[in-house]
Symmetry: C2
Subunit: 353 residues, 2 copies
DNA sequence: ATGAAAGCGCTAACAG
DNA sequence: CTGTTAGCGCTTTCAT
């Protein structure tokens, strides 16, 4: 109630100079030629008064708000949406920007709605970050044209916007290799049967890794189901009841791995003694709480957010036309816990010994 | 690249009126007396040109930005932080506001840092929402004084700010009652042993509910451990190995319930056949994926965010001094799934029959 | 080496 | 009923 906002005039008065000088000193204007002693006086006055520039006024004048709009799909339901937001926020703030967050619902192949974008446009954001919930190709509002934008975990149909995504194939390679490195040669997979853009690519990466390791791919060793624990359980049962079941299983996600745990327990198979498993996604809630704790691969959510923000700000500040690399692909990491072990003695290359 | 931003002047020119008239029409200024025909002309021109007011300029002039700052602790690690943010965003946008998001780390009993608040102040937000990660009492930066603020799931030490929180005791009652309503009389509890503000209150609510249902409270029926699956497992083992174990268990959170599932499985106790369980928190990742699916109580995260935003905006727009109710307490809801059943035949009031 | 003044796009008195 | 004008707080030419 007490303190009225202190403006540039107050600082000028306190320092005994004009507002011009204050502005130039505080903004470190290159060509400004101000005496060293004056500079000090200004800076001291400013900090003594607790002066902070009114960013609204500055934005109006400079046509640069220092705000980036972040449109996030399904923020409430997507696991770890918070991580990418944290990444963008921290990267943005390091460069003097703040983020304006808009949550949206994902509808079909559409990207942000016209009205979401309109709000951001009216707020004069310097650029927009679109955080997708299901890595798919989307169509973008026409109004967005002209504003720098970058996509997180998605492409636009015109393939004209920069995007940053996780290296999913690399991630599955990490997962599968964790298994083969432990000596497993019969490795199975629990894939999703859902309509998911990652379904095919995950399977292919699985096959490729096997091939690179000189292992034969056997179609019956991949079973599918809905990507939930229940789906994983059912698929796992089919997998483990095979005449010649795998000694290790890679799962499409951690929830399916959770289902696999149950199937294994029911069949008296201990993990990792009789069966090794690795998941995907590193849902802490699942992976950290399963017993034994699940080895899985983590998507670089934080880095994706940070990198996207960096790209965006580069585009905002760079000469219009100096677009940087269109696509950034970030590495996943393997989170090693306790679900991978050596090949059980009575199983292995020669089945049922 | 093509369209230059259309301003109020363009609309005025297109409609053949002055900017004043445009402003008044578009803002529905009460006392403005403008002909109906003129209004139409203005509105049509505006929409034809795709005019949207420059919110920065408007804010500068009206001293109201229409932006609320949301400081969120631990956005990346707190489960469902996204839900409260979604709630505040949707509520805010319904009233023409947008949110500027700042993520912060939770440090001790401190609230938002001085610098986080300073950034928001410079941006001229109309108010701030502070979303805490661990419902504790916190100290607020002095600079915040004068700006409307509301706390989500926390109190300030001075107890001077409005806050909105979940009715945890009510939630516990819901959980325990689900058990007693099914006929259980020997109900146990898995409590956290962590330093957690909710530890005591959860226990008390448990006791109170039992008392209200005319049930005796027995200290040995509550076992504690770290609030993880591992902690829940260990505590559950102690509980179930009691000479006279409970037929139903209420858990501090869903992770501990997950541990209880494992303990029960190892001891050959089926859920809900031999043992009923209800969790707390509704972590979908756990509750929905356990088998059988876990009955648990859900915190009103979305509603908390929405309500907090409503409160805040009321305070922003209301006559300074017309503060509404200081505290809002929102109800939890029971999410019924498959982990609660009747009292097993061979157990019950008379133990070991 | 420093200051005066114009103006970013809008709203709100005040005139007509 | 509608138009003119003066700022909101800042940056930035242009004078001095």
């Amino acid at each position: 109630m007490s303190s009225k906002p202190v403006g540039i005039k107050d600082v000028a008065a306190a320092a005994g100079v004009s507002v011009t000088t204050v502005s130039q000193v505080l903004n470190n204007v290159a060509y400004a030629r101000v005496g060293a002693e004056t500079r000090d006086r200004v800076r001291q006055a400013a900090s003594r008064l607790g002066y902070g520039p009114n960013r609204l006024a500055r934005a109006l004048r400079t046509r640069r708000s220092g705000v980036i709009g972040v449109i996030c799909e399904e923020i409430a339901t997507v696991p770890d949406a918070g991580r990418v937001i944290l990444g963008s926020d921290e990267a943005a703030r390091r460069r003097g920007y703040n983020i304006m967050l808009i949550s949206s619902v994902a509808t079909g192949s559409d990207g942000p709605s016209e009205s979401d974008v309109a709000e951001l446009l009216d707020r004069k954001v310097d650029g927009v970050l679109y955080v997708a919930s299901g890595r798919r190709a989307l169509r973008l509002p026409t109004r967005l044209t002209g504003l720098p934008a970058v996509l997180v975990d998605a492409d636009d149909v015109a393939d004209t916007l920069p995007s940053v995504k996780p290296d999913r194939p690399g991630g599955v390679r990490l997962a599968v290799t964790a298994l083969t490195d432990a000596g497993h040669t019969r490795v199975g997979m629990l894939n999703t049967s859902d309509e998911d853009p990652a379904r095919q690519s995950t399977l292919h990466a699985f096959q490729d890794t096997l091939a690179d390791d000189g292992l034969e791919f056997r179609g019956d060793l991949v079973q599918s189901g809905p990507s939930t624990a229940a789906g994983g359980y059912a698929a796992a049962l089919r997998l483990l009841k095979l005449e010649n079941p795998p000694t290790a299983v890679f799962c499409f996600n951690d929830a399916m791995a959770m289902g696999l745990y149950r199937a294994a327990a029911e069949m008296g198979l201990t993990i990792p003694g009789a069966l090794s498993v690795v998941g995907f996604g590193n849902q802490e809630m699942i992976a950290g709480n399963l017993h034994p704790a699940l080895t899985t691969v983590e998507l670089p959510r934080y880095a994706m957010g940070a990198r996207a923000a960096e790209h965006l700000i580069d585009a905002v500040e760079g000469t219009p036309g100096t677009r940087t690399a269109r696509q950034a692909v970030l590495e996943c990491t393997l989170v090693q816990r306790d679900s991978v072990g050596p090949v059980p003695l009575n199983r292995g290359v020669t089945p049922w010994a």
